[in-house]
């Protein structure tokens, strides 16, 4: 009997100050406001979450209870985890003049946006993939596409990004953004795609 009291008191004390002994899952809208789906399977029950701020809580008997969380409740429990989210990956496309590795006038401006994004991040990893239009044979386009990627890499390296964090590749004329007939000079295909993570 005494032992029972001791256990009861212990559980009251623990329940009062320790973390709650149930799981909590909250579905959030993404940056565009869209909501995905998470299926929460407990020992007995199951809940499908597919609306913004829908919650699932496990119960002591192994069930799963559906509900809704307020934004302030989300903040109370998850503020540290949310504040530690890594920045989202961002992509840039820069365009080039025909047959060389010179940026177009417009892309010269857009390079600044790339700089700002790279400077904002700690230890970014960057992938730079060069492409060409469909003028000329494979070998020279392979070389030109890599040359364009390397041009971007050297600019980023000049900003102090370590070279081993920048992966470059040239895809030549294999992946035109706008497929054209052979030999067509298409500005939208003369590009470098940059992914910053």
């Amino acid at each position: 009997m005494r032992r029972h009291y001791a256990a009861l008191i212990a559980s009251l004390v623990l329940g009062g100050c320790a973390t709650p002994s149930q799981d909590l899952v909250v579905l959030l809208p993404d940056k565009e406001g869209k909501v995905g789906t998470v299926v929460v399977q407990g020992q007995k029950g199951k809940a499908v979450l597919n609306t913004a701020y829908a919650t699932a809580r496990t119960t002591t008997d192994g069930g799963v209870q559906r509900g809704t969380a307020s934004q302030s409740e989300v903040k109370d429990v998850f503020s540290s985890a949310l504040a530690a989210q890594p920045p989202r990956p961002v992509s840039f496309t820069l365009y080039f003049e025909s047959g060389n590795d010179e940026f177009t006038e417009q892309s010269k401006q857009e390079v600044k946006g790339l700089f700002a994004e790279v400077a904002r991040r700690q230890a970014p990893d960057i992938t730079v993939i060069g492409h060409t239009d469909l003028v000329g044979p494979d070998p020279s386009n392979d070389a030109l596409s890599l040359q364009r990627a390397e041009r971007v890499k050297s600019i980023l390296a000049g900003m102090g990004i370590p070279a081993e964090r920048i992966l470059t590749a040239g895809r030549g004329r294999r992946e035109p953004l706008f497929p054209t007939a052979d030999g067509v000079s298409e500005p939208r295909n003369r590009r470098v795609e940059i992914n910053v993570r």
């Binding site: 399977q41 496990t58 503020s79 985890a81 530690a84 230890a123 081993e164």
Partner: protein, 151 residues
């Protein structure tokens, strides 16, 4: 003549050393710490290693944060996971094919809080990403959600 050849050879070897090393290390790496605040550790094959921004993770690593700790991790499929204080997150399985975007991602939040933004693995195959807690299993079809593990 010989000296130029030597210089060329040396340059070539240097180039190999600098280009092959990062590629080889990338092959095993599935993720990287992008944020590490307070005390953050990695448990890898029985060892406890400090985690900093830029530290790479391997499949089967466990991330541990202290009372003042929080950490954000970016995976190669663009899944983003972050944990709050007093958390233990075990990566149990991670595989990703960057060409087909097929893969498998299973992690276990043993305690604490977790925020998830799912990436290409969950987008490509709806049942490929799972998050477990000691009392439930989450099937992830996308995209953003939070988990607190009861203990």
């Amino acid at each position: 003549m010989q000296s130029t050849r030597l210089i060329v050879l040396r340059r070539f070897l240097l180039m190999c050393a600098f280009t092959i090393a990062p590629i080889a290390s990338w092959a095993n790496d599935i993720a990287q710490f992008r944020v590490a605040r307070g005390s953050v550790y990695l448990e890898r094959s029985g060892q406890r290693l400090p985690a900093r921004v830029g530290t790479h993770l391997q499949a089967t690593d466990t991330v541990v944060t202290g009372a003042d700790g929080s950490a954000g991790i970016a995976f190669v499929d663009n899944s983003l996971l972050s944990v709050g204080p007093n958390s233990v997150l075990a990566i149990e399985r991670y595989a990703f094919n960057s060409t087909t975007h097929e893969g498998a991602f299973e992690s276990s939040l043993r305690k604490g809080t977790l925020s998830v933004v799912s990436g290409k693995i969950a987008k490509q195959s709806p049942d490929a990403m799972k998050v477990k807690t000691p009392s439930s299993i989450l099937g992830v079809r996308g995209t953003e959600f939070l988990v607190r593990s009861g203990d």
